[in-house]
């Protein structure tokens, strides 16, 4: 995400403090990181496939009986 695509939101200070404690020693480098990860879980992006990939995978899944 480019810088211009980002916005700021406000969260209660006590929540901010709790998150800071929770992420200590984890791969989250900031409370923002944590918030983005959690929100991304709630609003995930669909995987992107090229047309060719899509056709190949679809054909294979159909042959194996996973889709009709």
């Amino acid at each position: 995400m480019g810088e211009s695509d980002e916005v700021s939101i406000r969260i209660p200070a006590h929540l901010y403090r709790k998150i800071s404690e929770r992420i200590e020693g984890t791969s989250f480098s900031s409370v923002e990181d944590y918030a983005v990860a959690k929100l991304s879980e709630e609003f995930p992006q669909d995987p992107v496939y090229t047309k060719e990939e899509e056709e190949l995978i679809k054909e294979r899944l159909r042959k194996l009986g996973y889709i009709e």
């Binding site: 929770r22 791969s27 989250f28 990860a37 995987p47 899509e54 995978i57 899944l61 996973y66 889709i67």
Partner: protein
Amino acid sequence: MSRPHGGKLVDRLVPEKKRSRAKEEAGEMMTVSVSNELRKDFESIAFGIFSPLEGPLIRDDYLSVLEKGRLRNGLPWTFPMVLDVSEEVGRGIHVGDDVALADDGGNFGVLHVEDKYSLDRKIHALKIFKTLDSEHPGVARTNNMDPVLIGGGISLFKETPSKFPRYRLKPKETRFLFKEKGWRTIAGFQTRNAPHIGHEYVQKTALAFADGLFINPLIGRKKRGDFRDEVIIDAYDALFRNYYLSNSATLVTLEMEMRYAGPREAIFHAIVRKNFGCTHFIVGRDHAGVGNYYGPYEAQEKFDEFPDLGITPLFFRSFFYCRKCGSVSNEKVCPHGPEDHLNFSGTKMRGLLSKGERPSPDMMRPEVIDAILKHPQPFVS
């Protein structure tokens, strides 16, 4: 659907049109022979099942995994993927080299060597398995490992034919499948067993709130007394045909050996299912445990250390059949005493099945029993 672990699905398969050239080039390199199990791990890396790993761990990552259960960038990773070689082979390998990876079927890939370091078997076993007892299958394997570890990225130009090709999918494919089915939330279930009613109950409870169920049995080396791979597949096939809806449950194999590392392996299993696209992962009693090396719910407690795992664990206690309730229940919801409870004892069921006897239909579906008993030797000997 979950994002791949580390943000990107790794793909270390050489594109089809470049494979014969890659194979030719590998023919001129020094060759390192690997076991069938290690080869499967390399395939998992190449397919993205072990994302973000691109090859066996380099020293800094390895030590960080042992100490913290994390890669050096902080990302959760609890089970070290390493390539061990003898001192003699190690002497011929240098940082910067490309070496061919081979098994009985010949060369299948290339390792771009980035690091070479020593294995301390004791520290490895103690950190990963929490014991030095050689009765523990993971410790026994560690004791047999070669002393030099080689780390780096791999490229794979040949895939092994699958034992069960009908059920083998790569994360790219499962993710597509979930999208096609319209599943937003997917509960992953890891197993090395033929299913009894207790398993089915856990799976269907998870399915009550997830869009889809992803049953992912481990196919590969297991310990003596475990169900054979073909028995697990036939048993699940019978269960699926008779008791599951194809639009809400799916069966895909994972070709990987059991490590019996309990809590650490539970986290590792969750990461693997995250890469397949699961949003949730079912963790039961004594997940990936063996003997009495780990507490019954230690694997569940381990998840507290990893709020950044990116997949939500679903914890289940033990289920049992309650005669008074007349149904499957658990200690959280059933008010009756142990005298009314019939436990789903895997050991007891395996004992009956090994004598060709049938567990009660309250314990295991008749169709599943038929599928197991059609195998003269359902267990690893």
